[in-house]
C-alpha cells in the first residue's frame, strides 16, 4: 500500500490507476463467473473445474497485488503438504469458501469502484482539457468546468489509493491463510515442540547417565580399590608394617571389610540407577536388546516377542522402552504377577506394544506411574489403553507412530 507509491507519488498514482483499470476489467469475468459458478456448483462433475477456476483466479489476484506493490498475500494452500492429513480437508474447504466470497465482493464492489476511478480520471482530464480547447457549451460555464475537472483530477488518485487499500484488505482476509490454516500450523508447531520437550528430557537423561558412569563410577571404583588394597595390607602379618606405622587394632580388618563391601554395594546401586535413568544399550543396540536386558534384570520373568521389522525413530524408541519398563514395574509391584508377556509388532506404519501380566488386576490408570506414561506416550502422538479388571489380567497397549 505504501512501498513505491510513498517514495515516488507520481509512479505510485500511475500504478494504482493501472490497478484500478485492471479492477474494472477483472470485474467483468468475475461477474460472468458469478453467473457460471452456481450452475457449475450444481453439477457435481464440474466441481473440480470450478475449484480449479477459483484457485487460478485467487492466484492471479495475489500475483497482481504483489506486482503492483499493493500487498503480499500468502497462498493458504502453499504448505498444505506439511499440514497434518486430518486437518487438510478443513484448510482446503475454508480456502475455497473464502475465495468464493472474494469473487463475489470483487464483482459487486471492486468492479464498480474501479470503474469509478477510471471515470474520475477521464472525466477530469476531459473537463480540464475542454476548457483549454475553447469556449464551451451553455450547460456549464468555463470556470465551473475547470473547477469540476480539477476536483475530479484531485479525487481520482485518492480514489485509486482507497481502492488499492480496500483490495489489499479484502485479499488479505479472503485470499490469505485463514483460521483453519493458522490453527493447523499452530497445532503442528505445538506437536513438534511437545515432542521436542520429550526428546530434550531423553537427551538430559542420557547426559546424566554418562556423567554417572564417567564421574561417580570412576571415583567409587577407585575408592573400593583403595579399601581393598588397605584390607589386603592389614590382613598381612603385623610384622610387615613399616617402622613407626600406627599399630592396627584387632577390629580394623572387619571395618575395612565392611567399608569395601559398602563401596561395592554402592557401585552396584549406581549401575542400577544409571540404567534406570537411561539404558545406554538402547541407543547402541536398539529396543530389542534393551528389552532383553530389562528382562534379565527383572525379578518377574518377562517373555519378549519383538516383531518390529524396522527400528523406531530415535525420538520414539525411548518412549517405547520406558513404556514397557513402566508397565513391567507396575505389574511386578502392584499386580503380584509371576509372568509378563511383552509383544511389539507393526500395525500399518505404527508400532503396537502390548504388555500383559497374569496378576490380580485393578490397576489405576490415574496413578503416578501410569498417568506419567500416558503423558509421555501422548507427547509423541501415541495412544495408550489400560484394561485392568479386578481379578486380572492387566493389559496395557501403547500405539506409537513410526514416522517422526
Amino acid at each position: 500500500m505504501s512501498g513505491p507509491g510513498a517514495r515516488r507519488p507520481v509512479t505510485g498514482t500511475l500504478i494504482r490507476t493501472v490497478h484500478a483499470l485492471l479492477d474494472a476489467l477483472v470485474g467483468i469475468p468475475a461477474l460472468l463467473a458469478l453467473v457460471a459458478l452456481p450452475v457449475l456448483r450444481r453439477a457435481k462433475r464440474h466441481r473440480g473445474r470450478r475449484e480449479k477456476l477459483l484457485l487460478t483466479a485467487a492466484r492471479l489476484e495475489r500475483r497482481r497485488l504483489l506486482a503492483s506493490g499493493i500487498a503480499s498475500v500468502t497462498d493458504p494452500l502453499k504448505d498444505i503438504a506439511r499440514i497434518r492429513p486430518e486437518a487438510r480437508q478443513d484448510v482446503v474447504a475454508d480456502a475455497m469458501d473464502r475465495t468464493h466470497t472474494w469473487l463475489v465482493t470483487r464483482a459487486l464492489v471492486g468492479a464498480p469502484l474501479g470503474l469509478a476511478v477510471l471515470v474520475a480520471w477521464s472525466a477530469g482530464i476531459a473537463l480540464a482539457a475542454s476548457s483549454l480547447l475553447g469556449p464551451g457549451h451553455a450547460v456549464l460555464t468555463e470556470a465551473a468546468r475547470v473547477i469540476a475537472g480539477l476536483v475530479l483530477l484531485g479525487l481520482a488518485p485518492w480514489l485509486a489509493g482507497a481502492l488499492a487499500s480496500w483490495d489489499a484488505r479484502v485479499a488479505g482476509r479472503l485470499l490469505g491463510p485463514g483460521e483453519p490454516t493458522r490453527l493447523a500450523a499452530r497445532v503442528d508447531a505445538l506437536i513438534r515442540s511437545r515432542a521436542s520437550v520429550v526428546e530434550a528430557v531423553d537427551a538430559e537423561r542420557r547426559r546424566i547417565e554418562r556423567d554417572l558412569h564417567d564421574g561417580v563410577q570412576q571415583q567409587l571404583v577407585a575408592l573400593a580399590l583403595l579399601l581393598a588394597t588397605a584390607k589386603r595390607a592389614a590382613a598381612r602379618s603385623p610384622a610387615t608394617l613399616p617402622e613407626g606405622a600406627a599399630p592396627t587394632g584387632p577390629d580394623v580388618l572387619p571395618t575395612l571389610d565392611r567399608a569395601h563391601e559398602n563401596a561395592l554395594q554402592a557401585l552396584t546401586e549406581l549401575r542400577d540407577v544409571a540404567w534406570r535413568v537411561y539404558p545406554a544399550i538402547l541407543d547402541e543396540r536398539g529396543l530389542d536388546a534393551a528389552l532383553s536386558a530389562l528382562a534379565e534384570r527383572s525379578a518377574v520373568p518377562i517373555r519378549i516377542d519383538h516383531r518390529l521389522p524396522w527400528r523406531l525413530p530415535s525420538g520414539v524408541e525411548p518412549v517405547a522402552y520406558f513404556a514397557v519398563s513402566e508397565a513391567v514395574t507396575n505389574a511386578a509391584k502392584h499386580a503380584g504377577a509371576d509372568l509378563i508377556q511383552v509383544t511389539i509388532e507393526a500395525v500399518g506404519d505404527r508400532a503396537l506394544i502390548t504388555v500383559e501380566d497374569n496378576g490380580v488386576g485393578g490397576a489405576d490408570p490415574t496413578g503416578a506411574g501410569l498417568s506419567g506414561l500416558m503423558r509421555r506416550v501422548g507427547a509423541v502422538e501415541g495412544k495408550m489403553t489400560v484394561t485392568s479388571p479386578v481379578g486380572g489380567p492387566t493389559v496395557i497397549t501403547v500405539e506409537l507412530p513410526c514416522v517422526s
Binding site: H213, Q218, V221, L225, A228, I281, A289, E296
Partner: protein
C-alpha cells in the same frame, strides 16, 4: 608378571598400579591414552596390558581400538579391556578367531580384587575372561532358549562359567565338585547344544559365545 596400564583417570590408574605392585607384579608403564599405550607396549613388550575403553581424545572406544592393534601386532600378549558398561559389540570384536589372552571386564570388577586378579592372571597366561554380567546378558538375549532350557541347572551354571573363560579346574573349584564331574557336565552340555567339543578354555569361550549370539 609385567603389566602396562592404560587408564585416563589418574585415581584409578594409580589405584590399580598400587594393587598390582602389592600383589608382587611389576607395572612397567602407565599410559593415559591409546597412542601412549601402543608406544609403551612397543617399548616394554609386557605380559599383559590393562586397557580402559574410553580414553582421550574422543572418549569413545580408542582403548578398544588400541587393544585390537595390540592383538594384531603382538599376538602372544594378553589384553584385559575394562569397560564402563556392558557392550557386547566390544566383547565380540575382541573375541575374534583366537580367543586366547583376551579379557573383557566391567570396571566395577576391578574393585572385586580377587575376581580381577584371577581374570588378569588367566589373560596373562593366554586364557580368557568375560565379565559375568556380559555372559548373563548373552544368555538373556540368546534366541536359542529351547536347547538352553534342556540344560540342567548345574549345566547352566557351568555353561556360564565356561563363557566367562574359566578352565575345568577353575570351575570345579568354584562349584565344589571334582574335575571329572565338570568334564562330564561339559561333555553333556556340548552334546545337548550340538557344539563341537572344543579344546581348551579359550576356544571353548568362543564356541559358547558364538552359540549364545547366533
Amino acid at each position: 608378571m609385567r603389566v602396562v596400564i592404560a587408564e585416563d583417570s589418574v585415581l584409578l590408574r594409580e589405584g590399580v598400579a598400587r594393587l598390582l605392585e602389592d600383589e608382587g607384579h611389576h607395572v612397567v608403564a602407565k599410559a593415559g591414552d591409546g597412542e601412549e599405550l601402543l608406544a609403551e607396549v612397543a617399548r616394554h613388550t609386557p605380559d599383559v596390558a590393562v586397557v580402559d575403553v574410553r580414553m582421550p581424545p574422543t572418549h569413545t572406544d580408542e582403548g578398544l581400538r588400541a587393544a585390537l592393534t595390540i592383538r594384531e601386532r603382538w599376538p602372544g600378549m594378553g589384553v584385559l579391556v575394562l569397560s564402563q558398561y556392558v557392550e557386547e559389540r566390544y566383547a565380540t570384536e575382541l573375541l575374534t578367531a583366537d580367543a586366547g589372552g583376551i579379557g573383557y571386564l566391567l570396571k566395577d570388577r576391578v574393585a572385586r580384587v580377587e575376581e580381577f586378579m584371577d581374570a588378569l592372571t588367566r589373560v596373562a597366561e593366554g586364557g580368557s575372561a568375560l565379565d559375568p554380567v556380559v555372559v548373563r546378558q548373552l544368555f538373556a538375549r540368546s534366541r536359542r532358549s529351547d536347547p538352553l532350557s534342556r540344560l540342567t541347572e548345574r549345566e547352566s551354571t557351568i555353561l556360564g562359567l565356561m563363557a566367562e573363560g574359566h578352565t575345568n579346574e577353575s570351575i570345579a573349584r568354584q562349584i565344589y565338585v571334582s574335575n571329572s564331574a565338570v568334564e562330564k557336565h561339559v561333555a553333556s552340555i556340548f552334546r545337548k547344544l550340538e557344539l563341537d567339543a572344543a579344546e581348551g578354555a579359550s576356544r571353548r569361550i568362543l564356541a559358547v559365545v558364538r552359540y549364545l549370539k547366533s
